[in-house]
């Protein structure tokens, strides 16, 4: 591994700071989503150029949006649907894939290579 060597500040300038910036940019939208989800409506609709725009935190966290989600919508049902779909589709894909993979990898039969290639090509 070609490590960044030399003065300590070099490691900061070339490693820690840029990586830190990258991780912050990468994760910030998730943090922002989380904060927004507990932000009261009144506070949410403050334009960004007002002095009282406080984007990074909220002083009056509220769970009303979550309450709304569970009480007024069929969110639990949707969650269940998602779960069912993901389990079933994974299961079916695994079943078909396992059998086909075994045949393609271990058994010799005419057009085996061709079939393998064409299955692979359909992936994207």
């Amino acid at each position: 591994m070609a490590a960044v060597t030399g003065a300590w500040w070099k490691r900061w300038v070339f490693l820690y700071l840029p990586l830190g910036a990258f991780v912050i940019v990468t994760l910030f939208p998730f943090y922002y989503m989380a904060v927004t989800s507990i932000r009261p409506d009144r506070e949410m609709y403050i334009p960004w150029n007002r002095p009282n725009f406080a984007p990074f935190w909220t002083l009056k966290p509220t769970l009303e949006h979550f309450a709304l989600l569970f009480r007024e919508t069929l969110f639990l049902r949707w969650l269940l649907n998602t779960l069912i779909i993901s389990i079933l589709s994974t299961g079916i894909a695994l079943f078909c894939g396992l059998l086909a993979a075994y045949a393609l990898a271990r058994l010799r039969f005419p057009l085996g290579g061709t079939l393998g290639t064409s299955i692979f090509v359909t992936y994207p």
């Binding site: 591994m1 990586l19 990468t26 939208p29 059998l99 075994y102 039969f109 290579g113 061709t114 359909t122």
Partner: protein, 328 residues
Amino acid sequence: MAVLGQNASSPPLSRSGFSFTVGIRRLRQATATERREWRFALVLLMPAVLMIGTFVAYPFVRGIWLSLTDTVVGSEGDFVGLQNFAKLWNDSIFRRAAQNTVFYTAAATCLKLTLGMLVALMLNNLLGFKRILRASMLLPWIVPTVLSTLAWKWMLDPTFSIVNWLLFQLGLIRFRVDWLGGPVMALWSVILVNVWRGTPFFAITLLAGLQTISPEVYEAASIDGANAWQRFWTVTWPLLMPVTMVVMLFSVIQTFADFQLVYILTGGGPANSTHLFATYAYQIGVATGKLGEGAAASLAMFPVLFMVVLFQLWYIRRGEGGVTKRGA
């Protein structure tokens, strides 16, 4: 998406012409044991082939047929030949969408490769925290695009944008930037979010590739007096090429056929200026209900994607040859 699964029905490349005749000859001379093995293979392959046939090949063929008719929702259309394609050719929005798709794919992929490579190199040099960083970086890639794009939509909102606020506080802008309001800015915003989503994947995959490069190669290069840039350009880059290639190809295919990101962030707007092939095909085919024209628009992606796939296969085959030549 039907168009992506195109080639199940078309004859696969290479090897096939040869193995087809061989296959026929061998079918006649097969022993009983061989025949049993073939039958077993057939049974094992059946589910996968049925699935692909039903959900990839059939929609694809049906899509081709639809694109040659003037079908609209609710009425079976008549065969009109290439009229749909001719209409698209003269459609200024479609042309714009084609340009956008090419630009979007090129810009996003280049940026992702550059940033991803930088991050991978930095991570490779890092001593601690590697795992936690890797895990946290994967988040944009794991979280469904629809969700993260919604977050971005809120962050780029013209009135409530935190990005504007940040840039303003940092003194980088004096006035409001309308991220999704103008044609040029909107396209760049879409690219930005795509880069945000895709860079971690590049970084993680390239990092995995970097870790397979033996440190001794670098030692040898250092002893020969190579500086950091030379070590990267003459050792890392060529040795990493196979990994880079695979990542690039996957990224190009996905970016080229991207739908969700644009659909959520701009919906193709403002004034149809940020449409990609996929979103415009959706707008014509599903939102407007002109199934025939929509199918034609989405089939327009096919030649490019098909070429990418051809290249991919060629590269993998070539790689296999290279490995056996170099091996041992």
